[in-house]
Amino acid sequence: MPAENPGKLSRRQVLAAAGSAGLAALTGCGSGDDGGDAKDLSKKRNGAMREYRVGQQFKATRPLTFDVLHNDNPVYPLRDDWLFWKELTRRTGVTLKPIGVPLSDYEKKRSVMIGAGDAPFLIPKTYHPSETAFVSSGAILAVSDYVHLMPHFRDKVAKWRLEPELDSIRQSDGRFYLLPGLHEKVRSGYSLALRTDVLGRLGLDPPTTWDQVHEVFRAIKEEYPDRYPLSDRWSTNTPYPAAALMSYLGQAYGVRAGWSYDNISFDRRAEKFVFTGATDGYRQMVGYLRKLVAEKLMDPESFTQTDDEAVQKLLGEKSFAISANPQELVQNYRYNLERQVEGSAIEMIPVPLGPAGPVVLGGARLENGVMIAGKALRSDDFVALMQFVDWLWYSDEGQRFARWGVQGVTHTRSGGEYRLEPGISLMGSDPDAEKDLQKDYGFYNGVFAYGGSWDLVSSMFGPDEQRFQDVMSRREQLPVDPAHPLRSVEQEQASLWDTPLRDHVTQNTLKFALGKRPLSEWDAYVSELTAKNMRHLVDLHNRAYERFRKENG
């Protein structure tokens, strides 16, 4: 990369520029400025269906074309001849015109285009809270005002009781600006993977609780005194050390930790927000980590090494357990172990249980979603646009289409079973196949396929993930933290306090775990947090919570 590139800016600079310039360039695009009542949509029904209900196929009454920002994934590079585009037009009468943006810098270009008023109507693949940066300029639509045009969206929100989750993405004006992907159930991503052949040799069963994990590690340590049973990864490229492990370990203690960490979390019993890094659950979790490290069951380098180094230790049998997700398990660990260690077997176990019981953390049922450009509201096609979005992203039929494609061409379905047509592969499912569902047909594209019913989501699982998710989906989902949107002034203040606190928690979690600081100093650590405005931050959020409750019931 050329160091002297004049256009090279940090993301923060781009966002700041987008924010300020967006304000100047786009003050004319707010939802109120269309020469009439914004809520009066009767003149914007060009191409829209008069009657559009749940279960109905959307079909524009006259041909329409919408631009869409397209996140161009190198695994399946954008192609104009995808069956997806053709079939979509045939079914809905809408032609989508993709604006290809390389995945590597998608957010940057999105910011610039929105800031310059040059964004297309549809801006998918947006992760909350990145939409917040565009709210004040009016460059994006407060979609919550128009969900009455979207029967499938509302149906799924009601059926799957997603209101609390939606509340969590509301801005301080009580509206939300992002149409998120909706999931029926939480899809757990990460857990511990263990060398089951080693367990078998030692006569051990796969552990189901963290206490058993401890025992299993001790048994492995006895057998291999010079090696660490666990050497973990996901410590680089994330602000948190051992980010995945802490995330699912924290879940067992009912706290958000690792890369799920948030300074603020809601205490159901006390009915108020508390500081996560100072809770008792967090302390217990740190204590558990300390125990593993102190007994040399966990490699202290777990918190600093790169992913490659951790995997290399696993492959070299210097360790026997590592954090995994189903993809890494199959494509990396097992794939390479089979080639290097004869008779090896590795499995990912359901997240071991801890004091919090069989629970999964709430809030993971919303996925990235679609923003609609504010200027779309001024278009005559606005109603049709919303109906189209509703069909493609939220109807069962649209979601099935985006994932599996056309029945009889790309797949066949009988009962709840989906089967790819012969000669079509998906993510290496059939190495001899000539065609690929993503590359050659444009389905199961991250831009269009997300969310959905558990049946649909699980239809794409491999056998390992199926087993894992079967267990995980039976666990109770902890309630989502109640909505407590901050006003923009508060938001600025909060982020000033947020980062130093977060850093302090992260640093000390590491110190406690590595034994550089004894856990008996926990109280001192909490008072250090207080000195860094912990109380102020918690109070700020509690005030916002009270206010939102009063104003919105």
């Binding site: 050329p2 190198p74 695994v75 310059a116 199961y444």
Partner: protein, 293 residues
């Protein structure tokens, strides 16, 4: 004048030390490159294990195959060649003209023209205004969006100006008396004498256009228009990004470890081939620009 026939002892020691130090410098600079080339031909496992140093281990061409088999790679590579050629040509014409004018001391408003140029070194219009400008000029999705905004590099301009100033004014006076016009002088007298600096500037410009990706990423909307740098950047992001719907087919995760090496080799190769031919001018060009006559 002893030193001419027989170097002094001190000088011989100096030469030896010099040789050793410079050899070390060569090794230090060459090693990373050789290592990258070796990695690009090595197997994934060997790279991860850190076994690859100077020679490929577990010889593997999968990544080259994946990258080279891709039609889009070749199309984008072609784009890069085209964009670099057009941009460099535009940049050379504009920079040469500007620099030549500025080198004339009798020019009225010369100070102002220099200030205008230098001003842009320190202040830019900002990302979004520039984007709006390019868009409203209708340059989006054309080569001009890449060639025009960066056509004059102020640094190169000043180097060239200094070089032109160092040419003896008598030459131009003589040409004038012989009846050459201003453009004639520039084309027939000045430029032929300035091969060194021109070659240097061509090299500077083409390397920077070859490597640049941000402008293309910003102003081009279709993948078939992108230069190869954007293609490779995206490939690396896809290979290391991992998660998300349908990321990481086996083939790709397989190549993730040496994909970076392959991309570096493929993008730097052409420029590397040009270097030896321009190097002669390059050395004298830099010297001449630096020391005014």
């Amino acid at each position: 004048m002893v030193s001419v026939d027989r170097p002094t002892r001190g000088y011989r020691v100096f030469q030896k030390v010099n040789g050793v130090v410079l050899t070390l410098v060569v090794i230090v600079t060459l090693y990373p490159f050789v290592n990258i080339v070796a990695r690009s031909f090595s197997g994934e496992r060997q790279i991860r294990a850190g076994e690859v140093t100077l020679w490929p281990k577990g010889f593997d061409l999968t990544t080259y195959e994946v990258v080279l088999r891709d039609e889009m790679f070749w199309r984008n590579y072609g784009n890069t060649v085209l964009y670099t050629a057009v941009s460099t040509a535009v940049a050379m014409v504009l920079t040469t003209c500007y620099a030549y004018v500025l080198s004339k001391r009798q020019l009225k408003g010369r100070g102002f023209l220099v200030t205008v140029a230098v001003f842009t070194m320190f202040f830019t219009g900002g990302l979004i205004p520039t984007y709006v400008l390019i868009t409203s000029l209708g340059l989006k999705n054309t080569v001009w969006a890449l060639a025009l905004p960066n056509a004059i590099s102020v640094f190169n301009l000043l180097v060239m100006k200094a070089f032109f100033e160092s040419l003896p004014a008598e030459l131009e006076e003589a040409a004038q008396i012989d009846g050459l016009s201003t453009y004639g002088i520039l084309l027939r007298i000045v430029l032929p004498l300035s091969k060194a600096v021109v070659a240097t500037m061509v090299l500077f410009y083409s390397v920077s256009f070859w490597n640049s990706w941000f402008g293309a990423f910003l102003y081009l909307d279709r993948s078939e228009l992108m230069p190869v740098t954007v293609y490779l950047r995206n490939l690396i992001a896809g290979a290391t990004g991992g998660a998300g719907a349908g990321a990481g087919a086996e083939q790709l995760s397989q190549t993730a470890a040496n994909i970076q090496a392959v991309t570096i080799v493929l993008t730097s190769l052409p420029i590397l081939c040009v270097y030896p031919f321009v190097q002669r001018y390059f050395v004298s060009g830099v010297m001449l620009g630096a020391v005014k006559g």
